[in-house]
């Protein structure tokens, strides 16, 4: 970098110039580094999709689109179809989120707004620890503790109150969509609570105080001011939770019943994509079988794209509506 005027070494001017040069380079460096990291993420995912794609060549060639609509999964006959698994993944994830988001956000509100700081910190600490419990242990607790309780208390109660809905009809063996949904709720709630609480606490105090000064009740200030302020963060936590629910393997396979079928009843046993891959991958013999499982992984990827797009559109429209009202 040539200087237009000669600068002597060691003078304050030269030090200032090299400092400025360092800062400027630092700015570019930071930009390049962070851009590289963001691009690396895209590259990794692209590589992942590519790897899944080339490993799925066989079933793509053999089944093509009918893989997505096929209802049979017969390793012996070499006939594979993804629909029952797609159905199970959607049902269990939807059930998990429908319950986990209200409960999680509710608990986050309590911890962020109402609980004394020390208790709030301690409890959140422990709740985050829940995320570290291996899913195997969730599965074990699920099958030995949760499923019998659901069979004894929750299922009959649901049947009594909502039994007119086809959702809650039919025989109940314990392992079912319902049980898988409940286990998933417990597994994803820590994410929602942790992240939502942090964003709620990050909303400036002034906002709350302004609302209260205008005569709002505590709840109104939370619901009408703080939450909309933190909404992107809360939604983000919802996406985190959704992602975990979609991809959860071990715990789900232990309580879902592992029966590929499409049915309206939550009491029935079912199957999910992640569960079937976990169950059959290590033992799969034969190239078509193995690559069909990989193809299922690709299908899950596509499903995640669709669900994410759907959720984002939903959010955009409700936000727009909210802005208009």
């Amino acid at each position: 970098m040539a200087a237009s005027t000669p600068v002597l070494e060691g003078t304050p001017q030269s030090r200032a110039r090299s400092f400025a040069y360092g800062l400027k380079a630092g700015d570019e460096l930071a930009y390049v580094l962070t851009l590289a990291a963001a691009s690396a993420v895209i590259l990794i995912v692209a590589l992942l999709v590519y790897q899944l794609w080339i490993s799925s060549r066989l079933p793509i060639h053999k089944f093509g689109f009918s893989f997505l609509t096929g209802r049979t999964w017969d390793p012996n006959a070499g006939d594979f179809g993804a629909l029952p698994f797609v159905f199970g993944t959607c049902v269990t994830s939807a059930l998990a989120l429908i319950v986990a988001v209200p409960v999680g956000v509710g608990a986050a509100i309590f911890l962020a707004e109402l609980a004394p700081p020390k208790t709030s910190n301690a409890l959140t600490f422990l709740i985050e620890l829940l995320a570290a419990v291996p899913s195997v242990i969730y599965g074990l607790l699920g099958i030995f503790i949760l499923v019998p309780r659901i069979r004894q208390y929750l299922a009959p109660a649901l049947r009594d109150v909502f039994g007119f809905l086809p959702l809650f009809q039919g025989p109940f063996y314990g392992v079912s969509f319902l049980s898988a949904g409940v286990v998933l709720v417990i597994m994803v709630v820590p994410f929602i609570i942790s992240v939502s609480r942090e964003v709620l606490m990050a909303v400036p105090v002034e906002q709350r105080e302004a609302a209260l000064a205008l005569g709002a009740t505590r709840w109104e200030s939370t619901w009408d001011i703080v939450i909309p302020n933190a909404s992107t963060g809360i939604i983000g936590s919802g996406f985190l939770a959704l992602a975990r629910a979609l991809g959860e393997t071990m715990a789900v396979t232990m309580v879902i019943g592992n029966t590929p079928q499409i049915t309206a009843s939550l009491f029935a046993p079912g199957y999910s994509i992640a569960a079937v891959i976990a169950n059959e991958f290590t033992e799969a013999t034969g190239d078509l079988y193995l690559s069909s499982l990989v193809f299922l992984g690709l299908v899950l990827f596509g499903l995640t794209i669709l669900i994410n797009a759907f959720a984002r559109i939903l959010i955009l429209t409700t936000q727009r509506k909210g802005a208009q009202s």
Partner: protein, 284 residues
């Protein structure tokens, strides 16, 4: 009429706030139940042997899971080194530098990566690390878990950086800092609490993952030297012990679950101690 409106609003206030209390109670009771169950079943098998000895076949006493504890620590350290910087820097990019479309694309893709089942990540890591290396290794396990750490790191970094008020950024720039300096010396420290808790959540989540390790680090009954040997890890040992028919293995599985939680807890506490210089913003 004013009094009625006030009463209705006060009722809703009390009702909704107590609902949030109920939600918290639900979560906390499940939490304490799980922790209590683990403690109850696991604490009996914790012993000096557990932390220092190698696994023994069923029926023989004196075995432990020392190699699994060390293995998990190594794999998690490597995963953090791989996943956190990439995710952290990418999150900074999304929050501070990028335009709307590119940010949208990266965010979307990150969410996709987050939704990939851990077993598929394991299969991926197997294809790109284990197969070329021709053997299972700690390194492959670290890669798999590192990839899993990226999405949450990106998401939480971006989130908590965004939640720092613009006033802070502008203030520091008004004092003469350029963008990079503003970010690294003002914005990031302001979001410290959130960033740390996000990273802890991330670490906690991958610490318990079994499926990716099955195809990468495999497992080892002995000490694993260096980084290119198969390695034992706590989640895999828990899985293998839990599904066996032997009661002594079951006890060890619960104890291992407890140790895993304790490992994550200690990392959590250490990180918070390191990061807790000063307080974050917007605290009441």
């Amino acid at each position: 009429m004013t009094r009625q409106v006030t009463f209705r609003r006060r009722f809703i206030n009390a009702f909704m706030l107590s609902l949030t209390g109920v939600a918290t109670l639900l979560v906390v009771s499940v939490l304490f139940f799980i922790l209590g169950y683990l403690l109850w079943h696991g604490i009996g098998s914790l012993s000096w042997n557990f932390f220092t000895k190698l696994p023994k076949p069923t029926g023989e006493t004196g075995g432990g899971l020392a190699n699994a504890i060390v293995g998990s620590a190594k794999i998690l350290a490597l995963a953090t080194l791989i996943g956190v910087p990439v995710g952290f820097l990418a999150g900074i990019y999304l929050a501070e530098y990028s335009g709307r479309t590119f940010a949208f694309v990266v965010r979307y893709i990150t969410d996709l990566l987050n939704g990939v089942p851990s077993i598929v990540i394991g299969i991926f890591a197997y294809a790109i690390v284990v197969k070329p290396m021709k053997h299972f290794s700690t390194f492959a396990g670290g890669c798999a878990l590192g990839i899993m750490m990226i999405p949450i790191a990106v998401r939480t970094t971006e989130q908590f950086l965004r939640s720092v008020p613009t006033a802070l950024r502008e203030g520091s720039m008004a004092l003469g800092a350029n963008k990079a300096t503003a970010i690294f010396t003002v914005v990031i420290p302001a979001a410290k609490q959130g960033l740390t808790s996000g990273m802890m959540l991330n670490l906690a989540r991958v610490a318990g993952e079994t499926a990716p390790l099955l195809f990468t680090a495999l497992g080892n009954m002995y000490w694993s030297a260096g980084w290119s040997q198969p390695s034992a890890s706590l989640p895999v040992m828990i899985y293998q012990y839990a599904i066996s028919p032997y009661e002594d293995y079951h006890q060890q599985a619960w104890a291992a679950g407890l140790v895993l939680l304790a490992l994550v807890l200690s990392i959590n506490v250490t990180a918070r101690l390191i990061m807790s210089r000063g307080s974050s913003l917007a605290r009441r």
